[in-house]
């Protein structure tokens, strides 16, 4: 009994902080999402409007377009990060001269604030001063202008995200690979398995939990990308990179459409949970059942 009380006592600071900064704001956002509230409207008060905001979201062409480009962004960014991250993790498992140096350098983007990443990429992609358009023009005669080309802007935001977050995937997978027991690999070698067979039948199943956890983290992060894209393209050209995070930002902050913006936030949270659940069900649950 005594130890139970002590446990709660020790947990209480964490619970307090979690409640204050996690649970309470979430409940507040859900509450606001059932209101029409724009402080710069003729009537600046919060007006309860039931589920009207949620009804509007479903028919909001701008939001749906935004959701579409976000899903494309998430797909290309996360898949690329996982593939590149795995290859890099495998490379860092081997010994080569300067390995520590390269591992450190490769991790540096992780410690940068997204707004700085956006600024750096803006400088690198601005025609006239940016190194990327200059090199593409000099080497291949390609005229890169992310202020004009929707495809170029979308691609650059994906590449920027890959540059920023692949190190996280690499680090997670290095941790997973390091912890693998050597016996199954030795056994496979004795049995004459080739590299492909080793990867599909031993490595991948054994790192699956770490891989799935990393994908979940990256997927949820990519779904709510705001800062770096806002800095790089502002959501443009047109709506080409107006990802849901950027859309919510513009709806809630400059437009001060607090009620509707909150409803979109809740919907996006729900979608993230659904996507993660689908991934879990399709990749983890069947194996657990078999086990």
């Amino acid at each position: 009994m005594q130890s139970k009380k002590l446990g709660w006592l020790l947990l209480s600071p964490t619970l307090f902080i979690l409640g204050l900064f996690g649970i309470f704001p979430f409940i507040y956002v859900v509450w606001v999402s059932f209101h029409e509230w724009n402080p710069f409207a003729a009537n600046p008060e919060k007006l309860f409007n039931w589920a009207e905001n949620y009804r509007k979201v479903v028919f909001d062409a701008q939001f749906l377009a935004s959701l579409g480009v976000t899903l494309a962004f998430v797909f290309f960014a996360v898949v690329s990060e996982v593939v590149i991250g795995y290859l890099l993790a495998q490379a860092f498992m081997k010994n080569f001269p300067g390995k520590s140096f390269f591992r450190t350098i490769h991790t540096l983007p992780l410690i940068m604030a997204p707004i700085i990443v956006g600024s750096i990429w803006k400088l690198m992609t601005t025609p006239s001063i940016g190194i990327i358009p200059n090199l593409l023009d000099t080497w291949f005669g390609i005229d890169l202008n992310i202020g004009q080309s929707a495809l170029a802007a979308f691609s650059i935001t994906v590449i920027m995200d890959i540059w920023h977050w692949t190190p996280l995937v690499t680090l997670s997978l290095i941790a997973a690979l390091v912890s693998l027991p050597s016996d199954p690999f030795e056994q496979a070698q004795i049995d004459g398995a080739n590299k492909r067979q080793v990867f599909w039948h031993i490595t991948l199943p054994m790192i699956r939990p770490a891989l799935i956890a990393t994908v979940f983290i990256r997927l949820m992060d990519a779904m709510r990308t705001v800062d770096e894209v806002l800095m790089l393209t502002g959501g443009g050209p047109g709506s080409a990179t107006r990802y849901v995070g950027v859309h919510i930002y513009k709806e809630v902050f400059p437009r001060t459409n607090y009620g509707y913006g909150s409803a979109i936030s809740v919907i996006v949270l729900y979608l993230s949970i659904v996507i993660c659940w689908l991934l879990y069900v399709s990749l983890i649950a069947p194996r657990n059942k078999k086990g």
Binding site: S128, I146, P237, K250, E251
Partner: protein
């Protein structure tokens, strides 16, 4: 010998007088004594005038009063985000907030700001003798309520000016080539046709001569509201479309069908004119906001352009940042027929008179100390140095200061224009729904810029969207 005695006696007399006088330093140290140790927090847009407050005026004030002032300079949208959230929630983080002219109406509607005139009248012990509201230029009127009470100390005011390269415009070879091509003399344009002819000429000239030179700037970002503002505040008015094409006296109508002008023929003509300029502008233009157009001009990449006056000083005088020092001329923007007459009669205006003030949030917990600082930055004596560092004038006396006259010469008469013709320009219309209408219509505007939708149908859609938003906000019945 006598002289030496006389000098000694004078020194003695001064010493005696000094010691006999009561320990009275000056108003600032006396008034500030009560608040010594207080730390004031301000948030403002990162701009040359704000940098001067942060780097020069705040430390000066602290040295005189013992009140520390921490000024946070950040991007325009972040500044609003932080200030509005603080005032909305009443948290009192900020004791001073930057109020751009276009948001004052929204802030007043929400009672976010302290009435400075009233506050100083109620607390005469805080009133500095060197601060006088009547010394402000007429730009201060934008920050007053119906009773003439001031809600912010004007800290920057400038016009969006037509800058051109004097070295190019005065080059005899270029003048001859221009005359040969157009049959006209090369001089700052007064009409849109002339401006286009000059822009076309220089873009072709740059291409033909292998120069990084184009005919005009274009603040045409395809995802940032700077492009929206350039069109509605600087371009459309020169074609006779005022107040964003919204008629506040006619139930906030925006569409022609309902009595507005947002999608009028003039607006459509203006947009097509500007889109052509964007097409012949430097390649960075689709990514340019207000800062980047200035940078483009300073890099010597354009022959002419509409540039916010806050950047004019460093473009014209700071060789560490600008390649066109001593090569900058100023002129009024090119206009359609009838626009100047509209401006002179007060019916319209020829361009954007931008600026802002420092206001005191009602949520501030250090209102008295903040009142002192706001008066400090509003005094006549701090203005000349400030105006020389950043081309802003908010007090009438500033025009006569020698450093301002010197800078005026370097800027090709910009301050003369501000003083004499500033009345022809206007700030943003007095709407409390700026960001809301802008953000509702901006996605369509960006689609026009990317060519996804044509300018005519785009403006029609924007007018309809503006009316829809105004109805939703409850302003349009």
């Amino acid at each position: 010998m006598f002289m030496r005695h006389k000098g000694g006696l004078t020194a003695l007399a001064i010493a005696l007088m000094t010691s006999a006088l009561p320990a009275h330093a000056d108003f600032w140290s006396d008034a500030g004594a009560k608040y010594k140790g207080v730390v004031l927090h301000g948030v403002t847009e990162s701009s040359p005038p704000s940098a001067y407050i942060k780097d020069v005026l705040a430390p000066e004030f602290e040295a005189k009063t013992g009140i520390k002032v921490e000024i946070e300079t950040t991007s325009w949208d972040q500044m609003y985000d932080k200030a509005i959230k603080d005032m909305e929630a009443g948290t009192g983080i900020y004791d001073m907030v930057y109020i751009e002219q276009d948001i004052i109406y929204a802030y007043l509607q929400r009672n976010f700001l302290v009435n400075m005139t009233k506050a100083l009248a109620e607390k005469p012990e805080l009133k500095a003798a060197t601060y006088d509201e009547s010394h402000f230029t007429t730009f201060a009127n934008y920050f007053k309520n119906g009773d003439g009470d001031l809600f912010g100390v004007p800290m920057e005011a400038f016009i969006k000016v037509y800058l051109y390269r004097t070295d190019l415009f005065n080059d005899p070879a270029i003048q001859a080539a221009f005359k040969e091509k157009t049959g006209k003399d090369l001089k700052p344009a007064t009409t849109h046709e002339d401006y286009t002819a000059i822009a076309d000429f220089f873009t072709e000239y740059g291409k033909a001569n292998g120069l990084d030179l184009w005919g005009s700037t274009a603040q045409a970002h395809t995802g940032h509201p700077a492009s929206w503002y350039e069109f509605f505040e600087s371009i459309a008015p020169t074609f006779g479309v005022y107040n964003w094409g919204i008629d506040a006296n006619n139930n906030y109508a925006a569409s022609v069908a309902n009595g507005g002008t947002m999608n009028s023929d003039k607006a459509k003509e203006a947009l097509k004119w500007w889109l052509h300029l964007r097409d012949i502008a430097p390649p960075e233009s689709p990514q340019s906001t207000w800062t980047e157009t200035a940078t483009t001009f300073a890099a010597g990449r354009v022959a002419q352009g509409l540039i916010y006056g806050e950047n004019a000083a460093w473009i014209a005088s700071d060789a560490s940042k600008s390649k066109v020092v001593g090569m900058v001329g100023t002129a009024l923007p090119p206009l359609s027929d009838g626009v100047m007459a509209d401006a002179e009669s007060g019916k319209g205006y020829i361009g954007y008179y931008d600026g802002g003030a420092f206001g005191l949030p009602a949520s501030s917990k250090n209102q008295e100390a903040a009142l002192l600082f706001l008066q400090y930055i509003g005094q006549d004596e701090v203005q000349p140095g400030w105006a020389a560092a950043a081309p802003r004038i908010t007090n009438t006396a500033t025009y006569d200061a020698q450093e301002v006259k010197d800078m005026n010469a370097q800027l090709g008469g910009y301050y003369d224009m501000l003083r004499d013709q500033g009345k022809l320009f206007a700030g943003a219309p007095p709407y409390p729904f700026h960001a809301q209408v802008r953000e509702a219509t901006a996605p369509i505007f960006y689609d026009i810029l990317t060519g996804k939708i044509g300018p005519d149908e785009g403006l029609d859609a924007m007018a309809a969207k503006a009316e829809e938003e105004l109805t939703s906000l409850g302003y349009r019945k």
